[in-house]
C-alpha cells in the first residue's frame, strides 16, 4: 500500500515537474506582436480578400440567370465575406482605419438607417454613372459595402435577376461587389506590401513614426483585442440583455447574426491565444488562466442570440446575461491584469477616451 502511494506521489511529482519545465518562456513584446500578426492578422486579412474575389461573378450570375441556384451561390459567397470580415472587424488601426475603409466595407451599426436612406435615393435616381468603376468610392460609405449589397440581395420586391426592374440594381450590386474586392485588396496590400503596416509594427524604433518599441506594437494588438471584446459585448450581446435597446444585429437580413457572432468570438479567442499573455502570470495569479479558459468556453458555447452554439463545449447553455458579464470580466482581466503582468501598459484614457 505504502509502495503504491509512493509511486502515486512520484507520478504526481513528475507530472508537476514536467508541467513546470514545460511552462513556456514568456515571449518578448515584439514576439507577441509578430505571432499575432503572422498567425492571426495576415491570414485573416488574406482570407477576407480571398472571400471577396468571387463576389462580383456571383452577382453577375444571379443577374444573368435569376435562378435559385445562382441566388443560393450568391448568398453563400456573401456569407463567406461577412464571416471573414467578422474576424477582422476589431482590427481598427492601420490600413483598415486609413481612408475610412472599415466603414466602407461594413457600415454597421446603423441605428439611423443610413444604408436604407442612401440606397433608396440611389435606386430612385438610377444614375448609371454611380455604378461606373471608381465612382462608387465617391458615394456615402453606407452604400459602398456589405450592408447595401445585403439589401439588394434580399429585396423580395425587386429581386436581382434578368428583369427590367432589376437592371439598375444589378449594375449597382456589381459595383458594390467590385468595390468590396478593391477595399479588401487595399487592406491586404496595406498590411503586406514592403514597408506596409506589418513591417511598421515589426520594425519599431525611434525613426518609426507610429511604433517606437516592440511594446507599442504589442499594445496595439492588445487594444484591438479589447476593442473586439467591447464591440461584441456592447453591440451584439447587450441589446439582448437590455431590451430597451433597439439595434438590429449585424447582417440579420441574411440570417448571419449567429455566424457573425461565432466568427467574432472565434477570432478574438485566436488572437488572445496568439499573444500568450498568460505565460507572464506568476504562480499566485495562475487561476486567471483557468478563469479565462472557462470564460472563452462560455462565450463560445452560445450562438450569440440566446441559443446554443454547435461548437459548444460547456454542458449547459449559458444565458446571454452570463456571457455578457463574462465578456466584460474578460475585458477587465486582459486590460488590468494580464497586460499588466506582461509589462504592457494599456492606458485607461488612451484606450477609450472622449
Amino acid at each position: 500500500m505504502k509502495q503504491s502511494l509512493s509511486a502515486l506521489i512520484a507520478i504526481f511529482v513528475s507530472i508537476a515537474m514536467a508541467s513546470g519545465s514545460a511552462a513556456a518562456e514568456p515571449p518578448t513584446h515584439l514576439a507577441m506582436a509578430q505571432a499575432a500578426i503572422e498567425t492571426y492578422v495576415i491570414p485573416h486579412i488574406d482570407a477576407l480578400k480571398a472571400a471577396a474575389v468571387p463576389l462580383p461573378a456571383a452577382v453577375d450570375n444571379v443577374c444573368k440567370s435569376g435562378s435559385p441556384e445562382a441566388q443560393t451561390a450568391l448568398e453563400k459567397a456573401f456569407a463567406n465575406v461577412v464571416v471573414a470580415y467578422a474576424g477582422v472587424d476589431f482590427l481598427r488601426f492601420g490600413p483598415m482605419l486609413e481612408k475610412g475603409r472599415r466603414e466602407q466595407i461594413s457600415f454597421w451599426p446603423d441605428p439611423r438607417g443610413f444604408v436604407a436612406r442612401q440606397l433608396r435615393l440611389i435606386l430612385l435616381n438610377k444614375n448609371e454613372n454611380v455604378a461606373e468603376p471608381g465612382m462608387l468610392a465617391k458615394q456615402s460609405a453606407a452604400v459602398q459595402g456589405l450592408p447595401a449589397l445585403e439589401v439588394l440581395i434580399h429585396d423580395k420586391d425587386v429581386p436581382l435577376g434578368p428583369t427590367e426592374p432589376a437592371r439598375f440594381r444589378c449594375l449597382f450590386a456589381h459595383a458594390i461587389a467590385e468595390n468590396i474586392v478593391r477595399l479588401t485588396s487595399e487592406v491586404a496590400d496595406g498590411w503586406e506590401k514592403p514597408g506596409g503596416w506589418r513591417d511598421k509594427m515589426l520594425h519599431p524604433g525611434p525613426d518609426n513614426d507610429t511604433y517606437k518599441s516592440g511594446s507599442e506594437s504589442a499594445v496595439e494588438i492588445v487594444k484591438a483585442l479589447l476593442v473586439g471584446l467591447s464591440l461584441t459585448g456592447d453591440l451584439q450581446l447587450k441589446p439582448q440583455v437590455d431590451h430597451k435597446i433597439r439595434l438590429t444585429p449585424p447582417y440579420a437580413k441574411s440570417g448571419l447574426q449567429k455566424a457573425f457572432y461565432a466568427a467574432s468570438v472565434a477570432g478574438l479567442h485566436q488572437l488572445y491565444n496568439s499573444l500568450r499573455l498568460e505565460d507572464y502570470l506568476k504562480p499566485d495569479l495562475a487561476w486567471m488562466k483557468g478563469w479565462a479558459q472557462g470564460t472563452w468556453r462560455t462565450i463560445q458555447s452560445t450562438d450569440g442570440v440566446g441559443g446554443r452554439s454547435p461548437e459548444a463545449k460547456r454542458p449547459d447553455t449559458p444565458s446571454t446575461r452570463e456571457v455578457f458579464d463574462r465578456m466584460n470580466g474578460l475585458r477587465n482581466i486582459v486590460a488590468n491584469r494580464l497586460s499588466v503582468a506582461a509589462g504592457l501598459t494599456v492606458g485607461f484614457n488612451e484606450l477609450d477616451g472622449d
Binding site: K99, D110, P111, R246, N349, E350, D354
Partner: protein, 367 residues
C-alpha cells in the same frame, strides 16, 4: 482595495441610481479639496474622487457608470459631474454642505456629452447634450435652485457638442461641436464620420442666438473639435481629435474668437506626433499658458498664448486630466494613478503615485 477601505472610513457614499444616503458623506472638510476628477478603480468600478493637493483622496463617491468632466461654481461650492457620452446622468453635490448628491438627467431623448458649466451667478447650469431623434446638438439649461430642473435648451449649431464653456464675459458660450453623431442604442459607435461637420461656435447664453461659427472645412473637415479653454485675452483655445486617415493628421490645437479667425498652432511633429488626439485643455491661472493633453501619445503640449508658440512638451504615459496650479503651473493626472505638477516649460515640480486608481479624462481645480 486598501484605498477602497480607507475611502470608506473617510466618508464614502456609494450609490447606484438613487441608493441610500450615508451620514458620512460630508464628514471630510471641503477646505481640503483641491481637485475633483472622475476615475476607475482596479475593480472596474467608477467613481468621483475629491483630492487634496498632494493627491490623497478626501472623499470618494461611487458611480454606476463612467463619468467624465466636472462643472464647478466656486462661490457656492456647487459641483456637477456629467456622465460620459452617451450616458444620461448628472450628479450634483455641494462641497461645503451636508447634503447628499442629487442625480438628474437631460430628459427623454437626450444624452450627455460629459461637459457643462455654471452661469457666473450660479443660478443656471449649461450642459452639452444630444437631441437623439432630432440628430442635433443642444445646450441644456437647468435651474440650479429648483433641483437642477431643466428649463430650456439652446441649439449648439452642430452635431455632437462636447465641451462647452461660459466665457469670462458671462454672456457667451463657446461650444466645441465634435460633429460626431451618437445614438445610445449603438453605444459609442460614431455614426457619421464621413459627413461630420465639426465647428467651434459662440452662442449668446441668454438668447441662444449664434454669434460666430468657425466650421472645419476642406482638409480639416475630420478634425473633431472637443475641448476648449479661454486665455487672458479672451481667445478660445481648442483641442481636436482627428477622425480622418491617420496619414493625413493635421495640427490639433488652435485658437479663435468671435471676431477672430481660426488659427492652428504649429506644433513640432504635428498632430501625428500627438497620435491625432487631444483629450483635455486647460489654461494657467494667469491666463497666459495653454495646456493640451494627448493621452494616446502620452504628452502634454504647452503653448504660450501671447506668441502662439509651443513652449514645452512633457511626457507622461496615459496623461489626460489637466488643470491649472499656482500662477503658471499645471497639474496633470494619468490613467495609471499619477498626479504630476509641472511647469509650462514641461519641468516636473513633483509627482504623486496613487495605487488602485485610474484617473479619467478630466481634472477640475477647486481650490
Amino acid at each position: 482595495m486598501a484605498i477602497d477601505r480607507r475611502s470608506l472610513l473617510l466618508g464614502t457614499l456609494a450609490f447606484v441610481g438613487t441608493g441610500p444616503i450615508g451620514k458620512a458623506f460630508a464628514s471630510a472638510t471641503h477646505h481640503d479639496v483641491a481637485y475633483v476628477a472622475t476615475a476607475r478603480r482596479s475593480s472596474g468600478d467608477f467613481c468621483i474622487v475629491l483630492l487634496k493637493a498632494d493627491g490623497s483622496i478626501v472623499r470618494e463617491i461611487a458611480l454606476s457608470a463612467r463619468g467624465h468632466d466636472v462643472a464647478y461654481h466656486r462661490p457656492s461650492g456647487r459641483v456637477v459631474v456629467f456622465a460620459r457620452r452617451p450616458g444620461t446622468f448628472a450628479v450634483a453635490f455641494e462641497l461645503g454642505r451636508n447634503t447628499p448628491p442629487h442625480i438628474f438627467t437631460g430628459g427623454e431623448g437626450r444624452h450627455y456629452y460629459g461637459h457643462g458649466g455654471f452661469s457666473q451667478d450660479g443660478r443656471l447650469l449649461y450642459a452639452s447634450e444630444n437631441d437623439i431623434a432630432g440628430e442635433r446638438g443642444v445646450i441644456g439649461i437647468y435651474d440650479v435652485g429648483r433641483g437642477y430642473r431643466k428649463i430650456g435648451e439652446h441649439s449648439s449649431y452642430g452635431i455632437g457638442p462636447h465641451e462647452i464653456m461660459l466665457l469670462a464675459d458671462g454672456k457667451t458660450i463657446a461650444v466645441g461641436n465634435g460633429g460626431i453623431d451618437t445614438v445610445p442604442d449603438a453605444w459609442r459607435a460614431k455614426l457619421n464620420l464621413e459627413t461630420m461637420q465639426p465647428s467651434l461656435v459662440f452662442v449668446d447664453a441668454e438668447s441662444g442666438k449664434l454669434i460666430a461659427n468657425h466650421a472645419m472645412t476642406g482638409e480639416f473637415k475630420s478634425l473633431s473639435v472637443r475641448h476648449v479653454t479661454q486665455d487672458k485675452a479672451g481667445l478660445i483655445w481648442f483641442g481636436g481629435q482627428w477622425e480622418g486617415s491617420p496619414s493625413e493628421t493635421p495640427q490639433l490645437v488652435g485658437s479663435a474668437g468671435p471676431d477672430r479667425e481660426l488659427r492652428l498652432v504649429d506644433a513640432p511633429g504635428g498632430g501625428k506626433d500627438l497620435r491625432g488626439y487631444i483629450g483635455a485643455m486647460a489654461v494657467s491661472n494667469d491666463g497666459r499658458f495653454i495646456a493640451a493633453s494627448a493621452p494616446k501619445a502620452g504628452h502634454v503640449l504647452y503653448v504660450d498664448s501671447e506668441s502662439g508658440k509651443v513652449v514645452g512638451k512633457s511626457t507622461l504615459k496615459d496623461v489626460c486630466g489637466i488643470s491649472s496650479e499656482g500662477k503658471q503651473d499645471f497639474a496633470a493626472s494619468s490613467g495609471f494613478g499619477v498626479i504630476r505638477y509641472e511647469t509650462a516649460m514641461a519641468s516636473t515640480i513633483s509627482e504623486h503615485q496613487l495605487q488602485d486608481i485610474a484617473f479619467d479624462n478630466h481634472l477640475r481645480r477647486i481650490a
